[in-house]
Symmetry: C2
Subunit: 457 residues, 2 copies
């Protein structure tokens, strides 16, 4: 069985069943060209305004001052015609009535948020609050931010970050998440909720080379999103072990090409093989000193069929590649110590794993299982100072989605708050954020990279 490109087939959601009738629609909105990361560019397209009264506004002002054009809050200081970003500290909201602070802060500012602007609200993890009042108010932020994400136009995005109440006032563990969200790297992350734990963190020597000196394993790296992950990791300073199936006799060596392009090493391997962990370990010993810092379980396949018509082979293959192999690789490399303290594990989930998808009971089970894997292993891995997170791509523009008929593709790529499909690099940037050493307070998250797709559960 051949691990293929990660295949989200998000389009099938709108293609099939109740969505099929949508294909023949008219009047498609025009999307904004999203600002994306280029080395040397400022993180935001304009100044950043930090507001709200809580425990993170001041420490984050200090942390971000060097790299951001900070402007005064709405009580004074310079006002911007076009904000590049708004960061609101909602950790001080401890009652439902206190939610009014959101209205007070945002309403006069929203017209001044520029194209590809970033709005980030930081609250306190609701289930870890002390009082019912605070928990209710904090939980309400989710409805607020998701709605605001649907109101913002021209490529502006809205994110909510829940910070553990145990985080110390300096809250340095929050910084990597804010730097990701307040940058062009999160261009296609919209309407999502991030959970950040209490751990403190140290900034990397260079925020533009956060993976400097790290060794990263990427499965399914020959092409598509996997290859892009390898490229972004290399850009950020990592050495990448590119893993994929061996190319068939006479076919181009896509895996070798990716590895060469990113200055990494290639390992032809079926991730479901009994000796997969051993072969990766041997490869690391031979080429990278025997250790790895990052594992991305990206390899995945689809074998779609209605459950009523599904044969054993379809079920078994998808479970083996998409769920059993990621679990075995993760547990194997962690248990042996190849992936040790400071380690990062990132898995590919899917919209289908969240919302379900017609014809994909097998695939959706594995992609929901990937969320389970993330949540299940997080506590044990935390004891070893290793984090584990997952990304769930929405409609990403790949060769796969290129093959979808035009009208249907248009519906699939437009049914989100940004009116467009994402790029493979958008998925890779989110993975690189999770992989960064400064993200050690970020674990057990599953984040959609979907432009705030309207579809969900």
């Amino acid at each position: 069985m051949a691990p293929k490109l990660p295949n989200d087939l998000y389009a099938q959601v709108v293609l099939s069943g109740p969505g099929s009738f949508l294909a023949k629609q008219l009047g498609i909105p025009q999307p904004e060209t999203l600002r994306r990361y280029r080395p040397g560019d400022p993180p935001l397209a304009g100044p950043l305004l930090i507001g709200g009264e809580g425990r993170i506004a001041e420490p984050m002002r200090a942390a971000l001052a060097e790299d951001y054009d900070l402007v005064g809050n709405n009580l004074g200081g310079r006002w911007a015609d076009r904000f590049g970003g708004l960061l609101f500290d909602a950790t001080g909201i401890t009652t439902p009535a206190g939610l009014k602070a959101l209205h007070d802060f945002f309403t006069p500012l929203l017209r001044n948020v520029g194209p590809s602007g970033r709005i980030v609200v930081v609250g306190t993890t609701p289930e870890d609050t002390d009082s019912a009042d605070e928990r209710i108010a904090q939980r309400a932020l989710e409805g607020f931010t998701r709605s605001l994400g649907k109101e913002m136009q021209r490529g502006a995005t809205v994110s909510l970050v829940y910070l553990s109440p145990a985080a110390k006032p300096a809250a340095t563990g929050l910084e990597s998440t804010l730097r990701f969200l307040l940058s062009a790297k999160s261009a296609y992350v919209d309407g999502q909720v991030f959970y950040v734990g209490a751990a403190d963190s140290t900034a990397p020597a260079d925020w533009d080379k956060p993976l400097d000196g790290k060794v990263a394993i990427v499965t399914g790296a020959a092409r598509g999103i996997g290859a892009t992950i390898a490229e972004v990791f290399a850009r950020d300073g990592a050495k990448v072990v590119c893993i994929d199936m061996a190319a068939p006799e006479g076919a181009p060596d896509a895996l070798g090409e990716t590895a060469t392009k990113v200055g990494g090493t290639a390992l032809a391997l079926d991730v479901t093989a009994d000796d997969a962990v051993q072969r990766i370990t041997d490869h690391l010993l031979e080429h990278h000193g025997g250790k790895a810092d990052i594992l991305v379980n990206n390899a995945g396949i689809t074998r779609d069929k209605l459950l009523a018509n599904m044969d054993d082979a379809r079920w078994d293959a998808v479970i083996a590649v998409n769920l059993l192999a990621p679990q075995r690789l993760t547990e194997g490399l962690v248990d042996s110590g190849v992936l040790g303290a400071g380690g990062r594990v990132i898995g590919l989930s899917s919209m289908a794993g969240i919302a379900g998808n017609r014809g994909q009971t097998n695939y959706a089970a594995t992609k929901a299982g990937m969320i389970g894997l993330t949540e299940a292993l997080a506590p044990k891995l935390a004891e070893k100072d290793i984090t584990i997170n997952a990304v769930a791509p929405g409609f990403i523009e790949t060769k796969m989605t290129e093959a979808i008929p035009f009208a249907t593709r248009e519906v699939g790529r437009r049914m989100n708050s940004l009116f467009q499909g994402g790029q493979p690099v958008d998925v890779a940037e989110a993975i690189a954020y999770f992989a960064g050493p400064a993200s050690n307070a970020v674990t057990a998250n599953t984040i959609r990279v979907c432009g705030q797709a309207m579809l969900g559960a």
Copy 2:
């Protein structure tokens, strides 16, 4: 400020922003006429097959044998041409590889599931499992069942129930949930996940009069979904205190009419009034012996506006009616003991509170806050043997949705696995299930009544 009909405005999701272009579509699928509850009818349209190997199959066979036409499992016994329901005990699945049991059980049976058939999978609450293997496998069930929900046709539904591993083998606390899901009362509940705790339970004297002798408070009861809740409660044996704003001078007394119709009492009251709790308490003393068993926080309003244009009044009114009042009524009636042991609190959330909605930052904040209220108060209320849950309606056919232009309404009502809008009674049935004395193991749930709407977060 006037508490109006509960106003979900789910249609706006597809009306506005990225959804607006969907309105002009063609080729709408034909929906099945859903089988709904009528006293005296059998709970299912055909026989019930119970399969799977875990801790609940045998106890539930025993519990359901009297009222259901049970047929043998696929290893023997009578086979049905048209099953009315399939109940699969997945609590025995403790590894990802073990998920194969789902394929083995369902694939040969699915063609024989009849119209309005019910498929229910019972698993173990993932976060409460002992091993990572089990947690991953159990979490995978969600992707499986949500996908299967999108595959089933002709009004058949699929539900997932997670039972606490602490539930004793007899698991009698599970029965009320299974009886709801394996009946015509859950006609419009599809693709949802229920959490059932460890508490045991006692069956009511009559499953067709589960609220016999109970006193229920319903806010916003004059019309719409609130009036239907009152009617269903009365049908199930409860005395209903119908609360709503006093009708304006000269207007028909809708509240009085509802109260008369259901044989209950009417209390004209603004739920945001300072003395609301006292006035309810006085009313209960005068008419119902001073106690209540059930509180439904149904009253709600909308004041839609983009946040950039939203005035203080719109923000304040929605927060006051939809969030502050429900919290005050709940805490007030519980703290005073008016709502005591065996009590039930049910709140109305909304799709907007889950997914966000353009023009509804205020409303969505309150409806996400209602989820927070449910989760925040559940532990404290559990100490007093009181449960609290919420329902989030999808597209429900009401006078409100009747006013939506035809093409748009068609999109809104068809973007779900049942290809149709729900009826107010569908929301009321879910609330009555939560309100039942046998549902004492069911708390902190927020359940969508949406026909498995494609939209979400």
